[in-house]
Amino acid sequence: MSLGSPATTDLVTETTPVATSTSAGPELVQLLTPEGERVEHPDYPLSLSDDEYRAMYRDLVLVRRIDVEATALQRQGELGIWAALLGQEAAQVGSGRALRPQDFAFPTYREHGVAWCRGVDPLRLLGLFRGVSNGGWDPQEKRFNLYTIVIGSQTLHATGYAMGITMDGAVGDADTAEAAIAYFGDGASSQGDVNEAFVWASVYNAPIVFFCQNNQWGISTPTGHQTRIPLYQRARGFGFPGVRVDGNDVLASYAVTRKALDDARTGQGPTLVEAFTYRMGAHTTSDDPTRYRLASELEAWKLKDPLERMKAFLYKQQIVDGGFFEALDAESADLAARIRQGCLAMPDPDPLSLFDNVYAETTQVLRDEREEFAQYLAGFSGGQH
């Protein structure tokens, strides 16, 4: 099949036998319907306490609040750009809460919900998008790698890390053994690095979960331009299982990821989890989705909103009351205020800090360059320029 002419490109879109962006197919693992009805799945039994259900909903709400506040800060010129996770909260909170403390996550640049679950202060994320840092937290302390912006690169890092887990003998015990998880998207699934990561993970039987958030869009490009089969089915060709989960269902995302991680840590090798979800916002604040997708598609996905279905579930279970939501609203507002104040107060880095940490052992060439620039800066009155 050639993609050589515009005519055939259109043909691909029309004939590609993938699910449309609102229909995931019967293989979808779901534990919570869009209406908030709890359903069972034979492979993924799940029983959480009332506190855990409430905590999961709290995560969803706070993560969305962080995202909304960051988008607003970008609109007001306080962030250079923001990559919104709107719509993907359940996939991220579900998988993020499935991680055990000893597990290690390798995110892209949109995993604000996973960052939240790993205890990374949201202000650290904002620092990156404000432009005061290219990282912002200690990956080892949080067991959450730095955001990786080149699409798909981190899947190889995660795979190598997982190989190291095996080499350290830290695979086997269901409670204490370790696993890695690599986050990426439907667009990244076309990258060579992701496919190489699949090969490596399979050959080395590495304790890793590949968590693909299929949010239906790689900027303006629909998933049908990345694949002709459902993405989770790709795993079979590499020699490990794939599963498609409802990425707007926090409970299913949790249960499926938990099992995949536990399979990995007990030596059963990798799993590809395709979290079927939807990017309800723009790719980033610089993007304009009205140029390439219909408003009706977004409206259809709004009916599957990850927060609304969990809220409905909590009501149906009768484990929340008005006081719970009021308290959560207040916590949410406080968090937003803290983020806003923290962002505005964030200082620009010292100009000479750009020479810091280029190397573990710096070089004379770099020391000389720094000194020359320092003298140049000092030439301005009061050291200002």
Partner: protein, 324 residues
């Protein structure tokens, strides 16, 4: 003291590093059972096991990318890229990840990874097996780049590169793999980032690295018969460049010819010439000249003798330098 080829000296150096540090692992295509296509890792898998000397799948980006993950886990990987022209599939992982992770993490994540690359021509190979891609890497902040030219340096430099907490791209002059020299393993090695005057002289400085060091030494021997005294500097480190050693030599001779196999434009020679003009403008008797490969793709092997700088082309440049 033993007479070792450069390939064997590298092998001994790798062995020593693996003995000294259990976190050192070797990974690459055919590095295990076969011992590498140049046998540089010969016997290491047998002695250290398949976990420490890994025959990887055939994908260079995967080699570097997984090595990065292993480094995050605390390992100290030594990656072999089988030939110079095969490094480009790994270019993104080297330039965008390996080089930048230390800075991105504000120093919290170290990348003690060595990327070994046999480089240069002169072995009659097919396309993509004779290239000199060092400038791409020397141009990238966050990487260190070195090139060994002889067995003694090879033995120590590979150990120093592996021990470095920074990523090091380690170029091995593949047509010098089989040349022998005395290797005193009890010697005290020079610091890895230092250039070395390998032959003192008074009339013209020749600066080279990797395979061209021997070419320059041969040229200096020939020139001596004509009564000319050439000083030869082996750069050893291409990033950082050891300018003090180069400047000191050029101050002594007043004349400089830079020699490399890589194409002339925007190569290491251009950087060295620019720095000398900034630093030694009033002390040089002649402009800096370059003897290099041409600004062409590396040619089919029947033409490589024309492409590669040789003794005559070096001496021709020496004549031109002395003619100013």
């Amino acid at each position: 003291m033993a007479q070792l080829t450069m390939a064997k000296a590298l092998n001994e150096g790798l062995r020593k590093s693996m003995e000294d540090d259990a976190k050192v692992v070797i990974m690459g295509e055919d590095v295990g059972k076969l011992g590498g296509v140049f046998r540089v890792s010969d016997g290491l898998q047998k002695d250290f096991g398949e976990h420490r000397v890994m025959d990887t799948p055939l994908a260079e980006s995967g080699i570097i990318g997984t090595a990065i993950g292993l480094a995050i886990r605390g390992y100290r990987p030594v990656c072999e890229i089988q030939f110079d022209g095969f490094v480009y599939p790994a270019f993104d992982q080297i330039v965008s990840q390996l080089a930048k992770i230390h800075a991105r993490s504000a120093g919290q994540v170290k990348m003690p990874i060595t990327v070994r690359i046999p480089f240069g021509g002169g072995i009659g190979a097919v396309e993509h097996h004779s290239e000199s891609p060092e400038a791409y890497f020397a141009h990238t902040a966050g990487l260190k780049v070195v090139a060994c030219s002889n067995p003694l340096d090879a033995y120590f430099m590979i150990q120093q590169a592996i021990a470095s907490d920074d990523p090091v791209v380690f170029f091995e002059a593949k047509r010098r793999y089989w040349e022998k020299a005395e290797v005193d393993t009890s010697a005290v090695p020079a610091p890895l980032w230092h250039a070395r005057v390998v032959r003192p002289g008074t009339d013209v400085t020749l600066v080279a690295y990797g395979p061209m060091v021997k070419t320059c030494l041969d040229a200096a021997t020939a020139a001596e018969e004509e009564g000319r005294s050439l000083e030869v500097v082996d750069l050893r480190s291409l990033s950082p460049l050891d300018f003090p050693t180069v400047f000191a030599s050029v101050r002594r001779t007043g004349r400089l010819v830079v020699v490399h196999e890589a194409p002339k434009s925007i190569g290491l020679g251009a950087e060295i010439a620019a720095r000398c003009s900034e630093e030694l403008y009033y002390e040089m008797e002649a402009p800096v000249l370059r003897v290099t490969g041409f600004d062409t793709p590396y040619p089919p092997s029947r033409l490589e003798e024309e492409y590669l700088p040789d003794l005559d082309r070096v001496l021709h440049a020496v004549d031109r330098s002395l003619g100013y």
